[in-house]
Symmetry: C2
C-alpha cells in the first residue's frame, strides 16, 4: 500500500489535530481536503459505529453558500427536485444536474432563510458550475465557499452524547431538520443527518477556532459512552445503500439511473436546467440502475476500479463499491445493472481482479 503525500493543497481541517491524536491510519482526498477513512481498522470501526457513538471530521463536505434575491431561483435551476415547499430549517437531498441531466453532485441543501442557502457538497467543485451559471445568467446572488466545516456525530448513542453538550432539546430535532444552538457564545447549526444508517447529527462549525474546543468537549462528555473518532465507514455505507459520488455515479449518470427518481419532480421543477433532458428519462425510464449485489466467496480485494458484471457471457453492468460485511457474512456491493438483469435475485458474475465470482442482484440494500 502506498502512503499519502501531504501538502497544503490537500487541505487540513479545524479538527485535523484531533484526528491525528486519535491515531488516524488512512486518508482519502475529498473536495481537495483530507477525509479520514480508517482509525483502528475498517472492520473494528464498523462494529464500534453500530454499537456506540463516533465523532467524524467531515469538513470535506464543503458548503456552497448562496445569498441574495435570486438565491431561490438559482437553486431551483440546479436541481430537478421541486423546492417550492421547502421551509427554512429544512435540509433536502438534491441531485444536481447539467443540461443533459448528468449528475454533477448529490449534495444536501440547507435552507437557512428565503434568501440564504448552504449546499453541502459531495466530491466535485460544484462551486465552479454555480459560479458559471450565475455569471452567464447574470443572477443577483453571491456565491462562495464559506469557512464552514461539518462535524458528524453518528451511532446509536449520538442523541445521548449531543444532549449532554447541547441539552435535551437536540433529541427533538427531526430527520433532515436543523436547529441553531450555541457553543462558546457562537451560533452552530445542528441537523439530524449524516452519512450512515446508525442515526446522528451534523454540526456545521463556522470558522476554525471552535473546532478543537468542540472536539474535546464531545470526547470529555462521552467518555463513558465509549465515544471514538470515526469516519464514514465503507462497509456500513454499502450495507445501507448510501451512494458515493465519483464511486457509484458520475456525470455520465442521470438521477434516475442512480435510483434517485423520487427526488426528481421533473414536471413541476420549472427552471431546472436539466429538466428537458430528464422529462424524457422520467417518461421512458432508465435502461440501467443502481442495485445492491451480494458477491459470493471470500472477502473481495479493495474495489479501486470498475468491476465488469456479466451474465451468460454478456456485459450487463459494473460493480463500483464492494466490501466484506461481517454482520451479513457476504461481500456487499453497489453496482449499475442493466434493465435485463436488475430484478431481485438475478444471478450474475462479477469480474474482480482476483477472478470471476458468482453474485446475486438485490433490489434492497441490507440496512
Amino acid at each position: 500500500m502506498a502512503q499519502i503525500s501531504l501538502s497544503r493543497r490537500l487541505r487540513r481541517t479545524p479538527f485535523s489535530d484531533g484526528v491525528e491524536a486519535a491515531g488516524v491510519n488512512g486518508y482519502t482526498v475529498y473536495n481537495h481536503m483530507l477525509l479520514p477513512t480508517v482509525f483502528e481498522s475498517v472492520e473494528a470501526d464498523y462494529h464500534h459505529l453500530k454499537r456506540h457513538v463516533q465523532v467524524w471530521d467531515v469538513s470535506c463536505e464543503r458548503q456552497v453558500e448562496l445569498r441574495g434575491p435570486d438565491a431561490a431561483r438559482l437553486i431551483q435551476m440546479l436541481t430537478p427536485r421541486d423546492l417550492r415547499g421547502m421551509m427554512p430549517g429544512q435540509c433536502f437531498y438534491v441531485p444536481i444536474v447539467d443540461e443533459t441531466g448528468g449528475m454533477l453532485n448529490d449534495p444536501v441543501a440547507v435552507k437557512l432563510a428565503e434568501d440564504r442557502w448552504w449546499i453541502s457538497i459531495a466530491d466535485s467543485d460544484l462551486l465552479f458550475w454555480i459560479k458559471g451559471i450565475v455569471n452567464g445568467w447574470r443572477l443577483d446572488v453571491l456565491v462562495d465557499e464559506p469557512d464552514v466545516s461539518p462535524l458528524a456525530i453518528q451511532g446509536p448513542k449520538a442523541d445521548d452524547l449531543l444532549a449532554r453538550v447541547f441539552g435535551d432539546s437536540v433529541r427533538d430535532i427531526k430527520f433532515f431538520r436543523f436547529g441553531v444552538y450555541q457553543f462558546q457564545g457562537k451560533d452552530l447549526v445542528i441537523a439530524r443527518s449524516g452519512y450512515s444508517k446508525q442515526g446522528g447529527f451534523e454540526l456545521y462549525v463556522e470558522g476554525s477556532e471552535l473546532g478543537m474546543p468542540l472536539w474535546r468537549k464531545l470526547f470529555e462528555a462521552g467518555e463513558d459512552l465509549n465515544v471514538r473518532a470515526g469516519c464514514p465507514n465503507l462497509i456500513e455505507r454499502i450495507e445501507g445503500g448510501l451512494l458515493s459520488y465519483g464511486n457509484d455515479m458520475t456525470d455520465d449518470n442521470t438521477p434516475h439511473e442512480c435510483g434517485l427518481g423520487r427526488f426528481c419532480n421533473t414536471h413541476t421543477a420549472i427552471g431546472c436546467i436539466g429538466r428537458d433532458a430528464l422529462l424524457r428519462v422520467a417518461k421512458e425510464g432508465p435502461v440501467q440502475q443502481i442495485r445492491a449485489l451480494a458477491i459470493e466467496g471470500a472477502p473481495v480485494p479493495p474495489c479501486d476500479r470498475v468491476w465488469p458484471v456479466y451474465a451468460n457471457g454478456k456485459r450487463v453492468g459494473k460493480v463500483t463499491s464492494a466490501a466484506w460485511s461481517p454482520d451479513f457474512n457476504t461481500n456487499v456491493a453497489i453496482g449499475m445493472i442493466r434493465v435485463t438483469h436488475w430484478d431481485d435475485d438475478t444471478k450474475v458474475e462479477v469480474q474482480t481482479p482476483d477472478g470471476t465470482r458468482a453474485a446475486v442482484v438485490r433490489e434492497k440494500f441490507w440496512i
Copy 2:
C-alpha cells in the same frame, strides 16, 4: 504517516499498472485521479531526474476539450492572456480567472485547430466553470473531458529517449509547440513541455489501450539511458519556481499576485470575464506577490499547511511549499510576501511547526 485508501473515485490511469510495477511509494490526488509523488525517495528521484530521464504518469492533467464555432471566443472569455496571435500547433500557459480576477486554474491551452482546443488543467474542476459559462452565455461549443492522459518524459536525456521511439524529428519540436506523431497506427500529440526545468515532452495519449504498450516501449528503448518511472518532484519544482495551484495560489489570488502578470494582456484581451477586475490590479500593482524564500537551518518538515511569515513581529506573508534542496544546501520555499518585504535579500522569519526559522526573500528562484 497515513496510507491512502484506494477507491474508484480516486481514478486509476492507463499507466497505473506500470507505476505500481515500478514500486510507487507515495501518491497524492489530483483532479480526482492518482498522481505518484515518490518512487525511491523524493531526494533520490530528484538526483535521477537531473541526470537521466524519467517517464511520468501525469494523466491527472485532465483535458477540457472545446469544439465548435464559439471555441475561440469561449477560451478568450476564460483568460486575460490575448490569444489572437496563437496558431494551431502552439501551447500557451493561460491563467484562468473568474469575474473578480481570482485564479480558477493555471492550465496549458493546446490549440489543435481554430475550432478545437484542449485545456490541460491543474487541480480544480475547471470543466464545471466552463460548462456553466457555456450554458449561461448560450455559446455554440461542445465542452467535455475527453479520455486523454498525458505522459511526460522529463530529464536531460528526454530528447535521446524520445528520438529512439519516434525518430529524430522530435528533437526539432520547439518549446511549447507540438507535433502529431504515430504510435501503433494512432495519432499522438507530442509537445515540448512539462512540469520540470530539466526539459522534455508531454505525450497526450488518447484512450487507455495505448497506455501500457507505450510505457513498455519507452522503458525498452531507454534501458541504457537509465530511464526510470518518476513524477513531478517537490524539490526540483520549488528550485525552478514552478507554482502549484491549490498549494501556492488559490481562487483568492489574482494572476498578478502569482507573478503571472506577463501572461495578462488586460488591455487587449477583449471579452475576458475577469478583465474589468484585472485592469485595476494591472494599473495599481498587487500588494503581495509570489517569492522564493531560502529557509535556514536543518531540513524543514513537510509543508502541509500555511506557514506564517513575520518581520519585526508583524505578519508579512506565508510560505506554501518547502523542501530541503541537496544541490543548494538550503531549504527552498515558495511563499506569498507583502510588498513591504518582497525585495531581494529581505530577512524574515518563518513559523514552521518545528519552530521559528530565519529566512531570506529572493526575487529569483534557483534554477
